[in-house]
Each structure stands twice: as C-alpha cells, then as structure tokens.
C-alpha cells in the first residue's frame, strides 16, 4: 500500500511538470537555459533565484540572477550615449519641437518613385493607419475613439510642406504625440511621401 502511495506521488510530480498560468514549468537543464551575460529584455532581479544550483558561489548571488547593478533599475539595456551619432545613417534631426517655421524649410532626402511609395504604404499601414485611416481622413479604428485626428485633405493641413509633415511625425502636434522614437528617420521621410499623396486627394 505504501508503495502505491509512493507511485501516486511520483506520478503527481510528473504531471505538475507542465507550464500553466504563472508557473513556467520544470526546466531540463537550467544552467544552459539562463544566460550568463546580460540579456536584453530578460531581467532577473532576485538574487536568491537559482541559488539551489549555484555553479559560481563566489559571485554572491543565485545562478539565474541577471541584472546590471550599475544601471538605473538594474536594467540590462542602455540608451545610446548622449550626443553620439550612429554610423552609416542619417544625422540626427535636432530642430526644436516648437520651431515649425524652420522645420517647414527642410527638404526630403528621399527621391520620388513608385518603389518608395510602395514601401511607404507598408510603413503607413504599420504606424499611421489605425488613427489616420486608410485614406487619411482621420477615421481609423483608433482615430474615431481618440478624436481630434485631422484629415490630410482638410483646409488646415492640405498645403503643408514635406518638412512640416516630417516634423509633426517626429515631435507630434496638438493631440498627436511624437513618433520619432519608434520610426527611423528614413522611414519617416518615406511616410511623408505617402502622406503627400493623401493630402492631394
């Protein structure tokens, strides 16, 4: 009878191996699963975690601890050093967010062409369409709820130059917030090309 209970318990132990809800499940070789170097987008701040199989007792924390004590909030990722410029790309756009007059003078570095418009349409569908809508009428699925989304062909904006559009994408205007952090400079200029076609309709 005792043996039977033992089997039962072993069985229940096996059954509970699978992941569910907050429990990630049993790992087969945890030392090989958890990164020793700092891993972006995965951070273990608890020093106790993994102390049951510590392969390096001298470091003073558990096996799975992965957090950089010198960064704010122990982050394993850092922003680029301030005032540095990425190699092989565009120079950073540094016109102040209130300087619409200066921004309007900036010319697009992108050539016109069908290929560019095709790429721009894809980018527009990723970053703009949910507010500004398929035809730029401000009637996207989010735009209807968000409200205050200007139609590209409305009297107020239909004649705005490309530099102005680029500046608004970068820093935002009115209720729109800046999208400079999530769209690269080149992609922003491509989107400008597509927006210009919607202005003219």
């Amino acid at each position: 009878m005792n043996k039977l209970i033992l089997y039962l318990f072993i069985g229940i132990f096996f059954i509970s191996c699978s992941a569910k809800d907050d429990y990630p499940g049993v790992e087969y070789a945890p030392n090989m699963y958890h990164s020793v170097p700092y891993e972006p987008l995965s951070q273990v701040k608890d020093e106790e975690i993994g102390s049951w199989l510590d392969s390096n007792p001298e470091d003073g924390h558990g096996e799975f601890y992965n957090s950089n004590p010198y960064n704010p909030y122990g982050m394993t990722m850092l922003e680029p050093v301030p005032n540095t410029v990425k190699r092989g790309g565009y120079l950073p756009y540094r016109i102040h967010k209130d300087s619409f007059e200066i921004a309007a003078l900036v010319k697009s570095p992108i050539e016109d062409g069908d290929e560019v418009l095709k790429e721009a349409k894809i980018l527009y569908d990723r970053f703009c369409v949910h507010c500004h809508g398929e035809k730029g009428m401000g009637d996207g699925s989010v735009g209807v709820v968000y409200k205050g989304v200007t139609a590209y062909n409305s009297r107020a904006v239909k004649d705005k130059p490309e530099g102005h559009i680029f500046h608004v994408i970068t820093h935002g205007k009115g209720r729109m917030w800046g999208h400079g952090s999530q769209i690269s400079i080149e992609d922003r200029w491509k989107i400008v090309k597509y927006v210009q076609t919607l202005q003219k309709q």
């Binding site: 990630p24 087969y28 699963y33 949910h130 968000y146 205050g148 139609a151 917030w177």
Partner: protein, 426 residues
C-alpha cells in the same frame, strides 16, 4: 354554454375591429403631423446652403467639434446664441488673434479647454455663413437626435439579452432533462408499488413467477458499485488516465507552452490588436530590424494614453511610470533557452512569416500565453516544410539554379542550411 362563448368572442372581435380603424387612423394622422412638422423646420433654412455647410463642417470641423457633445473643443449647438456672427467668424479665421486681443469670452474658452489653440481656417464669408447655417439647422433638430440615441441604446440591450438567452436556455434544457429522468424513475417505482399492492389485494393471483422477478429486481446501488465489472473498469480508466498524464507531464519538461504569467499592468492584446487593429509593428518596433521584437517602452503607450482613459487605474500605472521615468517591468513570456539563437528580423523581414504563425491568435488573447512549443523539433519541422520566397531577390538566383539542377522539389529552408547545427547553436 358553447353558444354563450361564441357570442362573447364575436362581441370582443367586433369591438376590436371597430376600434382598430380608429387606432390606425390616429397613427396615420400623428405620422402626417410629424412629417409636416419636419418640413416646417427644414423650410427655415436654404437646403443648398445647409448641405454645402454640412460638407465643409464634416471635412474640417468634426475632428474637434460635434453639435451635441464636447470633443476637443466645445459642443457647437446654439453657438449662434452665445456669440455674435462677427465674433464666431473672427475666431474661426484666427482664434489666436481673438484671444490675444483680450476678449474675455475667448480667453475663458482657451483656458477651459486645456489651452489648446484652434487651428486657423481661411474660409470665405460665404463658406462661414453656410457652416453656421448648418449648425443652426442642426441645433433645431435636438429632439430627433435624442430619439435616435434611444433606438441605438435599445438595440444594444436586446443584443446582450440574446447572448444571455443562450446560456439560460441551455441551463433550462439540462434542468428539464434531469426532471424528466427523475419523473421517469419515480413513475417506475410507483407503478411497481402499485402492481405489488394490487397483487397483494388479489392474494398473489395477478402475477406469475416471471412477472414477480421483474417487479422484485430493484436497482441496488451498493451492490452495483462493488461488482467486479465496475471496479475493474473504473480502476482501468483511472490507471490509464493517470499514466497518460504522467507521460504527458514528462514530455513537457523544458517546454513552456501555455505559460501565461500575470503582467504588472492588465494590458489586453485583444483590445489593442484585435478590436482596434493596431499593427504589431507599431509597438514591437524591433521585429523587422533586430534579433528581438522589443517590448514597447512607456512612451509608446503614452502616444495614445497621454490622452485616452487617463482616469482608469491600470492606465494610471503607465502615467506614474512615465512621470517617474521608470521602466515597466513586464514579465517575459517567451523564454527561448540561451543555448539556442533566434532572430526575429531574419524570420519576419526576410522570411516574410506572419506573427500569428508562431505566436498564435494574439489578437484574441487578453493575457498573452506561449502558443507554440518552441522546441527544436518544432523549429526543424518548419525549416523542412517552408519554401523560400526567392522572387525578386538576387541573393537566391544562383542557389535556386544550383538546386534545380539536382532536385525537382522547390527550394526549402533546409536546402540552404536551415538544419545545420551551428545555425542556431554556437
């Protein structure tokens, strides 16, 4: 008796038919009255001016204004009664100028609406007049709008009832079924008792031995459970299910499929990606250009939630994080072992694989869970089956040529080294 009933019925039907005519007549009359009232209202404004005003209003103003509700700017119903036409025209043409001139009403308005400046519009006086006429005509229609609102609300209520009805009827059906079984059981028992009683009254002459056997064979639940057959079947089912779950459990060691951790903020992909159809790339900006798809930083949330739903407790968490310049510590769902290398841009930008292929129906998940196994077998299987889209890509031209000379199968991922160990393990 019967004749009296028919007499009554005919009497009732006669009253109804007589009154029906009156009811119909009054309905018609009231409809006509409504129609004529509507016509009177519309006649006050020139239809051409109203319709041109409507198109101008919808093209330029609805972004920030509505007739009956505050959007970004104030509701415009009866705006002509609040201010003179000259004032309104000046404000539309250049609101900044009016505010700077120190006009009290304009300054109050500016402060009341979060110091948001209204865009200047260079409308001609004729266009301004048509817009104002449209607003006037809409202002006069207040009652009708309210009626329409009621209808919409009623529609929503009825639809929610119909979805409740489904479960109600299901429960009712199950209840009725159980009741039927219970009644049948009681009925058999009762009829047995009745037969025995009758038999006793007739001193055992009513039933022969065969009948008695049937009547006496009661259903004894204890004996039934303890019988060998039942014990055997039950223990077999138990052991089979138990062993199956044990083996399944063993197979899931190291696999985190269905892992669904609680997140610090109750973010729902179902609302954002499903209902509002926001593209995955909008937040996961790294997916086309880097190894990881990226968890969006707080500022991307703020693109909308700087304005939307700022009073809700879950959104408040974003706002505090933004004010404190503190990252939100989301719990990572997909933990690929460190021993395997995976690159998003390679699969999404080059391979053209949709997010759903690996991540499942994200747009239906309130809380994200790991949809795929993410095992090596799962990766390899896909590399064996997936054809390479070599169209319009010079890189593959020679590879395709070489492949065609030795095989009739289309070029697949495994043919260009998709199964090599060192592609993912190094």
């Amino acid at each position: 008796m019967l004749t009296r009933l028919t007499k009554n019925l005919t009497y009732i039907s006669r009253i109804f038919s007589q009154n029906f005519g009156i009811i119909l007549l009054s309905l018609l009359l009231s409809n006509m009255y409504q129609l004529s009232a509507q016509n009177e209202q519309d006649e006050a404004f020139d239809q051409n001016i109203v319709s041109s005003g409507e198109s101008l209003f919808k093209g330029n103003c609805t972004v920030c204004h509505a007739i009956n509700e505050v959007v970004i700017g104030p509701a415009l119903r009866d705006v002509h009664e609040r201010q003179s036409e000259e004032w309104i025209y000046a404000f539309i043409k250049n609101s900044q100028k009016v505010i700077k001139s120190g006009d009290e009403y304009a300054v109050d308005l500016y402060n009341q609406y979060n110091q948001t400046l209204m865009t200047s519009f260079d409308f001609s006086d004729e266009e301004l007049n048509s817009i104002l006429t449209y607003i006037k005509s809409e202002s006069a229609k207040e009652v009708q709008v309210a009626v329409v609102d009621n209808i919409v609300e009623g529609g929503e209520v009825s639809s929610s009832i119909s979805s409740d009805n489904f479960y109600l009827s299901l429960g009712l059906n199950i209840f009725l079924l159980l009741l039927l079984i219970f009644i049948l059981f009681r009925f058999t028992n009762l009829s047995k008792k009745y037969v025995i009683l009758k038999d006793n009254q007739n001193k055992g002459k009513l039933l022969d031995d065969d009948d008695k056997e049937i009547v006496d064979s009661g259903f004894k639940i204890n004996e039934f459970i303890k019988s060998n057959k039942v014990v055997g079947i039950a223990s077999f089912v138990f052991i089979a299910v138990f062993v199956k779950s044990c083996i399944d459990g063993l197979y899931t060691i190291g696999i985190q499929q269905n892992y669904q951790p609680t997140q610090p903020i109750a973010f729902s992909h179902k609302i954002h990606a499903g209902q509002y159809e926001i593209d995955c790339n909008y937040c996961h900006t790294g997916v086309n250009i880097s190894k990881s798809a990226n968890i969006p930083a707080v500022n991307i949330c703020m693109n909308c939630h700087g304005v939307i739903n700022t009073d809700k407790p879950e959104i408040q968490k974003i706002l505090t994080a933004y004010e404190e310049n503190r990252p939100i510590e989301w719990v990572r769902v997909h933990n690929l072992p460190d021993l395997a290398y995976f690159n998003h841009s390679q699969h999404v930008a080059v391979g053209g694989i949709e997010c759903n292929t690996c991540h499942g129906p994200i747009e239906e998940m309130d809380v994200v869970y790991q949809y795929s196994e993410l095992t090596m077998g799962w990766c390899i299987n896909c590399h064996r089956e997936s054809e390479i889209n070599s169209k319009g890509n010079d890189y593959y031209d020679k590879l395709v040529e070489l492949h065609k000379s030795s095989s009739k199968e289309p070029l697949k991922v495994e043919d260009i080294g998709g199964l090599e160990c060192s592609k993912c393990h190094y």
